[in-house]
């Protein structure tokens, strides 16, 4: 499979290869395309390329190959396609792409949808538009240079002739596909859809209960499964008594599932499935099961103990990951500051728990999944069932939130296993308890920070250590060190300009499935550095923003050269997405000016500040709190985000609002703990999320930028927690270094 980067300088030959076009140089991949939910009638619509079809009725069908989970990508991708295509927005119909390698990566995580697909989507729009223009020019027998497309029509410059896209579509579909390098893309000033705050395309369906999520799939003859999974990772069914379960009205069958072998990866967890004629009966039957479980190596996992060990470990030397200067030894005591920060395990708690429906037949497997990763779902299920990937069709529903949990297709695997076994369509619905107790958890973590001041009250040396079980442990047995990629997430990549820097990582063995959750390791790392810079500011008696300015140093593009560290940069070239200290400074200036205009705080109130770069975007957050009688109220949050060029400003704002609320939830209340290898929490009463009365006023400042589009969904989260605890310090004089805050404050 040709990768995306190759698209940038692709030859026509490669275009054809890339999109699997039929021979003869006709329309790109017009045959055999996996479109959903409708199959286009070939004589009424023309496929212009893998992403665009146009109907005789003038409708423009745009494929969104990325999963919609609230970020607005079905709207955003369509805006980009429609812009270069010169389509009239009122004619646009958005089609959700199935799992299909020809789209390139469909992994909807890592805040990548726009930053990785922006150019290619523009090229796809321009390709189709050029074919329509060429068709019109040929019909009018005028040079192509004399025609142009606008609002779903092609016009002739010299006359008042025009043809609609619908009138041109079928012939245009037969045009020779132009070479990518022959295309001219618009200049930013000419954008008609990019940069507009368009209403999300699913709005009316969502307001009227018509939007279809994974939970809403209903097939003829379908049965419903609820699964009791081993409470401790690595244990299996020791004994099973299903006699009561089978008596429950509606229960059809009880099936034991195999436990995973080796590293968890995306394997189903095993356990016992109750099959019924409806969801509720399946859940009732499951409650009536009597299961006992075998012992597991993880039986003794206890988070209090685990965290205490992790805190000890970060106080000891670890593996050096980045170093500048030669010594961090013999620091005079009076000029140093130390702190240890901890963040517990967290889980995603998206409103729609994991859910998938599978129908395995002699022809193959068809899945309807609320998934962020259609292709890994396809691959994993194909491998499990011994099918060719082409025989596994994955329909992507709307997702009732994802946050990284739905990147792991274990629940789709369960549905496929059961459907194969029963020879019936099966829907596997997870309960909230299942979601909370069988997650791929955000890792428990601890960090140690130490800094030294010089004689001029300036920080001149920093030592930091981080420890957490690695996501890699989910994919390979025996991994006990954070990966470089995880350390790149807000630990090693902070561009501090100090004469001496030493950053280390320590070992931690995984005792449960570790996964990625919205902004991943940036959560703990931004909490660490964001809190510590504030502590240093307090010690130096300077404003926090000023301390950041000093520690970041002069405007520059940081490359970390000669620091023994090669930076992954979220998969981007530093040339395209540099670590640009000037952009930090710009945000610091904006926030300083914004905060200067805020009303004076009263007694028991305080502002806190933090800034963080992640997913190649820059976000600064200021938080105002009030603490009275140990009761915390967050009054206001102001976020400034520089995400480069943005496609839909309103969605960037709404994602940032959501990120603030996500960050507040985790800082104030988020904790997954383990006792005897089992998760202690089970539902929203003990894994609470922020509710409306706890929500502050939120103001989002979108910083104008011509930089390349950067990540949006995640970067708002990391600075929230430190700006909150810094605010509490400002209000009360008490420093909280261990999350969540509801252990010590009423929230």
């Amino acid at each position: 499979m040709t990768t995306f980067t190759a698209v940038e300088n692709i030859s026509r030959r490669n275009v054809l290869k890339l999109f699997g076009a039929a021979g003869g140089g006709l329309a790109l991949g017009a045959t055999g395309l996996a479109w959903s939910p409708m199959a286009l009638a070939q004589d009424k619509q023309a496929m212009m390329n893998l992403f665009i079809a146009i109907g005789e009725d003038n409708k423009v069908y745009l494929t969104c190959h990325r999963s919609e989970m609230g970020q607005g990508i079905r709207t955003g991708i369509s805006q980009v396609l429609a812009d270069e295509l010169e389509a009239d927005w009122d004619n646009v119909v958005v089609i959700q792409g199935l799992a299909d390698k020809r789209y390139g990566s469909q992994n909807t995580d890592g805040s990548r949808s726009i930053r990785k697909h922006y150019t290619r989507m523009r090229q796809m729009g321009a390709l189709a538009r050029t074919m329509l223009e060429q068709t019109a020019a040929a019909k009018w027998q005028v040079p192509v240079s004399e025609v142009y497309a606008k609002s779903s029509k092609v016009f002739h410059k010299g006359s008042n002739k025009s043809l609609t896209f619908g009138e041109l579509a079928i012939d245009a579909g037969k045009q020779t596909v132009p070479a990518i390098e022959s295309l001219s893309l618009k200049s930013d000033n000419d954008f008609t859809h990019i940069g507009q705050s368009k209403t999300i395309v699913d709005m009316q369906d969502m307001l009227n209960g018509k939007a279809i999520y994974g939970f809403d799939i209903k097939l003829d003859g379908m049965v419903y499964a609820s699964i009791s999974r081993p409470p401790v990772l690595g244990s299996d069914v020791a004994s099973l008594d299903d006699s009561e379960a089978r008596k429950v009205v509606g229960v059809i069958d009880v099936i034991q599932l195999p436990v995973p072998k080796g590293a968890p990866v995306f394997q189903a967890l095993g356990g016992v499935a109750v099959i019924a004629t409806n969801t509720w009966s399946a859940m009732q039957g499951r409650k009536a099961l009597k299961v006992s479980w075998t012992a597991s190596v993880n039986d003794r996992h206890d988070t209090d103990k685990y965290m205490a060990e992790l805190v000890d470990k970060v106080k000891q030397p670890g593996k050096v990951m980045r170093q500048l200067g030669d010594s961090v030894k013999n620091w005079p005591k009076q000029s140093t500051v130390n702190a240890v920060y901890t963040v517990p395990y967290l889980t995603h708690a998206m409103m729609e728990p994991p859910v998938a429906t599978a129908n395995v037949t002699a022809q193959g497997c068809e899945l309807w999944s609320s998934t962020q990763t259609p292709q890994s779902t396809q691959q994993t299920v194909a491998a499990l069932l011994g099918l060719k990937e082409d025989n596994v069709k994955v329909n992507v529903t709307l997702l009732g939130g994802g946050f990284g949990r739905k990147s792991k297709p274990d629940y789709s695997v369960e549905a496929a296993m059961l459907s194969q076994r029963l020879n019936l369509p099966v829907k596997v619905s997870w309960t909230r308890e299942d979601e909370i107790q069988h997650g791929y958890y955000h890792a428990i973590s601890s960090q140690f920070y130490q800094a030294k001041f010089d004689d001029n009250n300036k920080v001149d040396a920093l030592l930091a250590r981080t420890g957490f079980p690695s996501i890699s442990s989910t994919f390979a047995e025996g991994v006990d060190m954070p990966s470089a990629g995880e350390l790149d997430l807000g630990f090693t990549d902070v561009p501090l300009a100090l004469p001496q820097i030493r950053l280390e990582a320590v070992k931690a063995v995984a005792r449960t499935r570790i996964g990625w959750m919205r902004s991943v390791c940036n959560i703990q790392h931004a909490f660490g550095i964001g809190s510590f810079v504030d502590e240093l500011a307090v010690k130096a008696n300077k404003p926090c923003i000023q301390m950041w300015r000093e520690m970041l140093g002069a405007d520059r593009k940081e490359t970390f050269a000669d620091q023994g560290f090669s930076y992954g940069n979220y998969g981007e070239e530093l040339a395209d997405h540099p670590v640009d200290v000037a952009r930090y400074h710009h945000l610091l200036d904006i926030m300083e000016a914004t905060l200067a205009k805020q009303p004076k705080v009263t007694k028991n109130q305080g502002w806190g500040f933090a800034i963080h770069r992640s997913f190649v975007s820059y976000v600064a957050v200021a938080t105002l709190v009030e603490v009275v009688d140990n009761q915390l109220q967050v009054l206001k949050s102001i976020a400034a985000i520089d995400a480069g060029l943005v496609v839909n400003p309103d969605r960037v704002k709404s994602q940032t609002e959501g990120a603030i609320i996500f960050g507040l939830s985790l800082a104030m209340m988020g904790e997954i703990s383990f006792k005897n290898g089992k998760v202690t929490q089970s539902n929203f009463h003990d894994y609470p999320l922020l509710r409306l009365p706890q929500c502050p006023d939120i103001e989002v400042i979108l910083v104008e930028s011509n930089a390349k589009p950067a990540g949006v969904g995640e970067p708002g989260v990391p600075p929230v927690a430190p700006s909150l605890t810094n605010a509490i310090f400002a209000a009360t004089g008490t420093r909280y270094r261990d999350l969540p805050l509801n252990k010590v404050l009423s929230v």
Partner: protein, 154 residues
Amino acid sequence: MTIPTQTLLVNGKNFTINADPNMPVLWVLRDIIGLSGTKFGCGSGLCGACTIHVDGAPMRGCLTSLKHVVGKQVTTIEGVEAERLKEKWAEHNVPQCGYCQAGQIMSAAALLAKTPQPTDGQIDEAMSGNICRCGTYPRIKAAIKAAVTENAEA
């Protein structure tokens, strides 16, 4: 156990159904009648995703048994008359993933039906049972307030 045949009035239409009288209305609506706009989020009355109206009052569909609503008027997101609220919802671009939104609108509609001019405190209280993990609260509040302002003007 024999399953009785019951008649349920949903959005002004009668449905004849065979279901365990103890089945929560949420699952009756979703799996039996086929109205999937009412969502499952927690099954324990903690999130509000399943909010419906029973004789106009907001109820948690996941905790309300079928037998308790037979003979009453059940209203779901598919049938609720809340045009102005939905209009304001659209104007404020409230939804993100949209999954909690049916429950949010049902709670807000019940509030405004009973209290056409709610105070901020009343809005907070009426909406406190509905979780939105995506974090659309500021816009929910803004949309409700905009609908209220129009109520006041009307």
